[in-house]
């Protein structure tokens, strides 16, 4: 079976399970809403302060929401040993990872579609004038988060203390994405916004490198 078809089958299965259970949706929606609300009420920032703290707040909220979501990605496959069933199928192991990382990307992107407007309202920062460029930055950063998160979720799924291990492993590896994402978002929220090409290039480069590494190492990642 070719890669797009088998990855598509895994993606469709992930989406169907999530639409039926809404486990990830509820967890992420509740978490991000809490972060947006609590920080807004705790600091009551001015317009200038909002522009300075909002990029960091958005990316940290999505990072931790992502780790909550990614925990379940491969743990779900352990309940009934379905990973063994996937490994038995005559498909490229990369198809399993690709299907799952695309599903994680879509879940995170859906959360961002809901919560960027919420952050915008809570912190009184308009994102409409830079929406297209902001979507580009969020797309590249979220894709990087989904790729690395899916890989580390596969690696830690059978580890003890995996709930602690995953964020501890992800944070240093994703530091370039978080830094580039915060910087590029920050450049879009200043009074004279511009697209920070060097940070955007860094996000794109990160995505390409880690997706390629995932493809090359997929056999080892999904194996025993």
């Amino acid at each position: 079976m070719n890669l797009p078809r088998s990855a598509g089958a895994v993606l469709a299965k992930e989406l169907r399970i999530e639409l039926r259970t809404r486990d990830l949706t509820h967890t992420v929606l509740f978490f991000v809403l809490m972060v947006a609300g609590l920080f807004s009420f705790a600091f009551s920032p001015t317009a200038d302060e909002s522009r300075r703290i909002l990029p960091g707040l958005i990316w940290m909220a999505f990072f931790f929401a992502g780790t909550l979501m990614l925990q379940l990605c491969f743990v779900r496959e352990q309940a009934n040993d379905t990973l063994a069933a996937l490994r038995l199928a005559p498909i490229d192991p990369f198809a399993i990872l690709l299907g799952k990382l695309l599903a994680n990307f879509l879940f995170l992107a859906a959360a961002e579609i809901v919560f960027v407007p919420v952050f915008s309202v809570f912190y009184n920062v308009s994102v409409l004038p830079v929406l297209g460029r902001l979507i580009l930055v969020l797309f590249l950063g979220t894709f990087g988060l989904a790729v690395v998160g899916t890989v580390f979720s596969a690696m830690t799924a059978q580890a003890r203390m995996r709930e602690l291990l995953l964020p501890m492993l992800l944070l240093p590896v994703l530091a370039p994405v978080l830094i580039a994402g915060v910087e590029a978002t920050g450049e879009l929220l200043v009074p004279h916004p511009s697209l920070a090409r060097e940070w955007v290039s860094m996000l794109a480069g990160f995505d390409v490198i880690f997706l390629t590494a995932t493809w090359l190492l997929s056999g080892f990642l999904v194996e025993e």
Partner: protein
């Protein structure tokens, strides 16, 4: 069992060892299971039965020695795996999906031609047609086992591996399982079953006993009646 299977696949373990950290789960196991055989694996908990089955399914790599699939020489691991049906301790199905959706998903992964027709036949064969649109999470142990067998059969496997399939089944479920295993063997598949259940020993033509990762007893291979397909 109204499921036709193609020529069967055997498996040969040649001085196989498997180490999990400090634990040596298999110790120089040498065993040849010919295409079409029906073999029961016996042994106490921790004797290496599950590891041996998962190694036959190419899910676990040996630390030493070699595993060869007879009848699939020269083929890649991916292709061989596609011809193996595994029914494990767990059901290997998604609780959140219905029986039909589970089978549809695996049929798609295996590239089964005319999947709807195949799914209907397999559901009929395991007696789950009436519950095909219920999610697997609400199934009883016996029904989950039927679904697990249906999933293993969706691909027309040539080698069927069952890991303690009778665990948790009531008398009626065990009778059904005995008939199913017998039917699959008659249909031409190689069947290897790990079990503590003596009734399965009566079905199997050959018994292999494991203890502490070693084969301690293997009934005479020469007396093994082969399945019809393998006899041709």
């Amino acid at each position: 069992m109204d499921i036709a299977l193609t020529t069967s696949l055997g498996v040969e373990f040649d001085r196989v060892e498997k180490r999990f950290g400090a634990l040596l789960a298999l110790r120089k196991v040498t065993l040849r299971i010919a295409p079409g055989e029906f073999v029961a694996l016996f042994g106490p908990n921790g004797s290496g039965k599950t590891t041996l089955l998962r190694m036959a399914a190419l899910l676990v790599r040996p630390s030493a020695g070699r595993v060869t699939h007879l009848g699939a020489e020269g083929r890649g691991a991916g292709e061989i795996r596609g011809q193996i049906g595994l029914v494990g301790h767990k059901a290997l199905v998604y609780d959140e999906l219905t029986a039909r959706e589970n089978l549809g998903f695996f049929a798609r992964l295996y590239g089964v031609s005319r999947p709807a027709e195949r799914i209907s036949r397999v559901l009929d064969a395991v007696g789950l047609r009436q519950r095909a649109d219920d999610v697997a999470g609400v199934f009883s142990r016996g029904m989950r086992q039927r679904l697990a067998i249906a999933r293993a059969l969706i691909t027309e496997p040539r080698l069927l591996l069952f890991d303690e399939p009778a665990t948790g089944l009531d008398r009626q479920g065990r009778d059904w399982l005995d008939r199913t295993l017998d039917g699959l063997h008659d249909a031409g598949a190689t069947v290897i079953v790990s079990t503590h259940d003596d009734s399965l020993a009566a079905l199997a033509a050959r018994s292999v006993h494991l203890d502490a990762g070693r084969v301690v007893r293997d009934t005479a291979a020469s007396a093994v009646p082969l399945a019809p397909e393998a006899r041709r």
